[in-house]
Symmetry: C2
Subunit: 692 residues, 2 copies
């Protein structure tokens, strides 16, 4: 039995991390692919260069993309027929690692192969694939994915661009009817794209069949826009300046009818529309289905970036010294300060949680895209899971990179330490491929729908009792408060309280209970909405928007906790398991701490217990503190991936040299005496003189 600390955090002397073991677990299901990708990305040709104009950065990124083709690094998702591996999980796993080299390269590659190429692959016919995939794969045909318009981003169904079938010439006329319908923010469009897949309202025989996708050439061999096409540059951006984002406008541009990527909707010669999917709504969502790959891969990339940030800040926090707090000759290293631990270690815990959650997400994506389980239900689950985790992951990356940068002080602001550079590049991840708040709203609606479905077949009695429960919620909460008071006796003790909080069942109950009740509360308050006139429906729904978005966030918290807890089962080494369990507890308890008011109001945590939570978390982060370096080392990144001065060991060498200087000085006869010491001495002499 190991020694126990005084707050019930668990045995502490056995807690040593087996970094090789942990690295294997954290690499997850596609460990081997990630290793191959990481090995390639050690090559400096792929690394971001700072202080370039956007023009120079764009050229460099294009070259890097060609180098990826040469290294056979971008073909994993494509059909074997065209030289690919048809391996969707591995494709994303490798793609995500590009962020460690240069996020611009990741996004440029994502546009070319993950969006432009994927549209042809998933929305086109076999003929389309044969005709266009080879050029897309070898980058001889760089292309844009022309979906977003100035006036419509998240609301794709309302795009303004039209594609009207003209039976006279058997062509589609692609047209931008007003300025807000200009395609915007299209990677590759400003400079390099010679083709594009364009999303437009398909109109034939007087009927609008909704948004479909068309393959178009947009530039001639000299790089000039084709007739009727106007191309503009989106200009300099807050980051990702290696990607040439631009705008496309179409003035009655004609393309052959057969350029319609027709897997889910086709127009026959003469204009007759047909589709294997009858419902226009379902057809639309099926066509957008491949977008989920973007969300999954941004999630993984965000986790990778957060890891880099933590490697830098934790390493520096273990070397940089500041203030002489303990009055010994040496100053404290930053990570010995409680606040510094509080700033970095909960973020470390969330990063590990997200890593596990992302691995699950990737496995589900692989199931769906490989056809192993591509049922409608599983596809929807994948969409909902991605919509919940992508927002949390991308916001977390920004938050962690920022805290890591601040934790390194001024050094964190210098580009050679990459925090600001990564943060600037990843900034747009929170609003593209699905705006985070819009995605969370999707999750919330799904939670509400699932909840409603539970009662769909319920008899009237069950429903009545449910409604009564909701109406009586105030009574329940009052009871909650009473219950809290009754618990004062057994929870006044900090250790007992800690023992309660550290139980996985308690954590699960608290996190899942919150989601359930928040959804039930919202459902209860919205239950009459369907009976209202449409305008009033929207108003009432809007009045609950903030509430249901918070329910979606609570749902994401739970998903991450479940993934972390499941991930823990793989850890066999006892010391590693102990440290990882502390981290899981820190993840759970900081989530609960952040929404502690809710738990108190709803009587789920008593006031007495609640007041022990923060001190307990403070003790837990102190427990993990000696192992923080081991955990970040287990992320498995080599110096060629990290490339930060703060993580290079240079600070340790400087501290050692400074210490050595002062040690020698103290040992010599040259050491100047401090004025204060002199003053103290004089005062003592005066007192002594008086006494005589």
């Amino acid at each position: 039995m190991g020694e126990h600390d005084d707050a019930g955090t668990g045995p502490i002397d056995t807690a040593t991390v087996d970094t090789a073991h942990l690295e294997e677990i954290l690499l997850g299901r596609w460990a081997e692919t990630k290793r191959v990708a990481r090995e390639l990305l050690k090559d400096p040709q792929f690394h971001k260069t700072e202080n370039l104009t956007k023009e120079d950065h764009r050229e460099r990124t294009l070259k890097q993309a060609h180098a990826l083709v040469e290294a056979n690094a971008v073909h994993r998702a494509f059909p074997e027929e065209f030289g690919g591996d048809a391996d969707h999980g591995a494709n994303i796993a490798a793609f995500e690692e590009l962020v460690t080299a240069d996020p611009s390269l990741q996004i440029k590659a994502g546009v070319q192969w993950g969006l432009f190429g994927a549209a042809v692959m998933h929305l086109g016919s076999h003929e389309h694939q044969k005709k266009w995939l080879p050029g897309i794969m070898d980058l001889s045909v760089p292309g844009a994915y022309a979906m977003t318009e100035i006036g419509h981003g998240s609301d794709v169904a309302s795009l303004g661009t039209t594609a009207t079938y003209d039976a006279a010439t058997d062509e589609f006329i692609i047209h931008t009817p007003f300025e807000a319908a200009t395609k915007r923010f299209l990677g590759n469009a400003a400079l390099h794209a010679t083709a594009a897949v364009v999303f437009a309202q398909l109109i034939t025989e007087g009927v609008n069949h909704g948004v479909h996708c068309f393959y178009m050439e947009i530039r001639d061999e000299q790089g000039n826009p084709l007739p009727g096409i106007t191309i503009e540059d989106d200009g300099h951006k807050g980051g990702l300046n290696g990607v040439d984002n631009g705008r496309l406008r179409f003035d009655q541009v004609r393309v052959p009818r057969t350029n319609l990527l027709n897997r889910y909707g086709d127009v026959a010669e003469g204009g007759a529309y047909s589709s294997p999917i009858e419902s226009p709504g379902r057809r639309f969502f099926t066509m957008l289905g491949t977008l989920v790959q973007g969300r999954v891969s941004l999630t993984g990339a965000a986790v990778a970036a957060a890891k880099l940030g933590l490697i830098g800040a934790v390493t520096y926090g273990n070397q940089r010294r500041q203030f002489n707090a303990t009055s010994t000759t040496e100053e404290e290293v930053l990570l010995d300060y409680q606040l510094h631990q509080r700033r970095l270690i909960p973020r470390l815990a969330t990063t590990v949680a997200l890593g596990f959650a992302h691995d699950n997400l990737l496995a589900k994506l692989d199931d769906v895209f490989s056809g192993k389980d591509d049922s409608d239900e599983n596809r929807q689950e994948l969409e909902t899971l991605a919509a919940a985790i992508k927002p949390v992951a991308t916001w977390h990356a920004l938050d962690t990179l920022q805290e890591a940068r601040e934790a390194c002080g001024g050094a964190g602001f210098i580009s050679e330490n990459r925090f600001t550079s990564l943060r600037a590049d990843l900034d747009v991840y929170v609003t593209f491929e699905g705006d985070n708040n819009v995605l969370l709203q999707l999750v919330a609606k799904r939670l509400l729908a699932d909840y409603a479905a539970e009662f769909k077949n319920a008899d009237v009695g069950a429903l009545a009792s449910y409604v009564a429960n909701q109406a009586g919620s105030r009574v329940m909460h009052r009871f909650g408060l009473r219950k809290a008071l009754q618990e004062v006796q057994d929870t006044g003790d900090e250790r007992r309280s800690a023992n309660w909080f550290k139980q996985p069942e308690v954590q699960r109950d608290l996190l899942s209970g919150r989601v359930r009740q928040m959804v039930a509360d919202a459902a209860g308050e919205l239950r009459h909405v369907a009976k209202l006139p449409p305008e009033k429906q929207a108003t009432v729904f809007n009045e609950h928007q903030y509430q249901i978005i918070n329910a979606a966030k609570a749902h994401a918290d739970l998903l991450l906790w479940e993934a972390f807890t499941e991930g823990l089962e793989q850890v066999e080494h006892p010391g590693t398991k102990q440290v990882m369990t502390w981290l899981r507890d820190i993840y759970a308890l900081t989530r609960i701490e952040e929404t502690l008011d809710w738990y108190l109001i709803n009587g789920r945590v008593s006031g007495q217990r609640a007041r022990t939570l923060t001190p307990y978390i403070n003790r837990l982060v102190a427990r993990v503190r000696p192992h923080a370096q081991d955990v970040v080392d287990s992320f498995g990144y080599a110096p060629e991936h990290v490339r930060m001065e703060v993580a290079s060991g240079a600070e340790q060498a400087r501290q050692d040299a400074a210490n050595e200087y002062y040690r020698k000085l103290r040992a010599s006869s040259d050491a100047p005496v401090e004025e204060k010491t002199l003053l103290d001495r004089k005062r003592a002499q005066k007192r002594a003189a008086k006494k005589q």
Copy 2:
């Protein structure tokens, strides 16, 4: 009497904002100076150009700084003898506005005149001023402020650089004894500085008298480093690339004895040290006293940047439409969504609160620096006030610019909308001129010291009863919970609860009660510390670091609330007063909402009241929503200051054109019918056919 809404937020029909009146109030005490500064900064030569290399940006910024000299815009703080105005408040008020042009220009100017020049002015003799101020003021001598070292930032007292007096030649020998003592992050150092003020440990006659400041030339007329001086470039940064930050290393560099800026400490020929301030500690803090100007001006600049962000996001939120929620023909503008209101309007409230708080801070700075009230006590109050508000303001600016950028979606990421650019530049404001967390710790220590002073002269009885109170805190909190339960009767009603929350006395009690109790709790827990051995003292203090930093934040919340409430008194126009009161309430209540768990645990807000708080805030933000544009318009910035496409009205024009297109289409016979409409029609026909 005006109409009252159903939630007691106050009369709503009289609430219209008199923007001219509000603008005058928000401009504050130095309104006229600000107007003059803003007028100058309309000139495009001062505006930031994006997509420059750091080399080009640095040259441009230097040119801009020279243009400021030509415009006589940088002399307000200097003595009248040298052509200045000796007007410290006006100087900072004007200086802060530079951030709207280019933050690099602000910081470059801050280094030259606010740090380098101010050091000569405040730490030097009249002879020093006569010799060096003219060249500093006209920028013929660009200079660096060489304080920070690689190994020591916030802990200035521990700097490693030495200045040893050599009686043989009557010189100081400036030396960098080890690499960590290299001066780093010095604006002007990498390229333009020909001189520097260097902070070093003054050693004479075998005694170290602590950190003093020395004027040194560092480059010759050709721009080469002088012998013994090594200059390096800090390189590309996360922002502010118009400032040439660099490093200085000294290898036994000799400067005349008289180059010591000797106002607070001098060395006579032969080596005798003297100072008008006996205590080395007090002397050190007096010499660092001018640094407070930097903190005050960064606060004001941060508020200005937050205002720009909100102007952009609110204007765009009133024009951009997304999703057709109400099923009318037109989509909703973003700001009609509750979540969007929730994202922007509380930040608007905090920005206004910070504006008032900053105006108070600036008035205090003016009192101190003008000599109107430069007592030690007032100086310390200024330091503490600045240390509390600078962290809140600079973090708030980053948070607001980020939320504003996300609220504009992809458009927020494009540099032409400036959110990302401003955010990148202001990033370092949170760690320079006093790291935010270090400053908050100073505030916390001051709060604890003030608290201890209250009991210094207390008799034993009072102290005993205080200790007993603290020891019995559990009983108190239990009582708190009981009290909360008793309040259920009168607070179950949402309207009564809202009426309670909106009372200024209640808000003050809640915010100030939190600070008082947090400080008392910490003081109680730390009361035995003085009796412990030094190492143990540090350990115990460290275990409370997170807690006391939170107390300092609570103190800042209160300061802002008080400033806002005081500011409200200037508002005479009733409608404006109503809107501003709602904003003040939103500021107070979102602060309370964020730490609601504390109020619940400590029995200061009952569970029943607590659950009405978020819905009440949601109603308040909806009340302010129609006036949000008026409030941001009252910030008084012209299009030349805002310079954002999203705030230009272009989006409104695009929306109008799109609407017009659809209106015409609907009116014409060409309008395609939606497939869904067609399907519904067919189904209806089928049903009709069956019936027949």
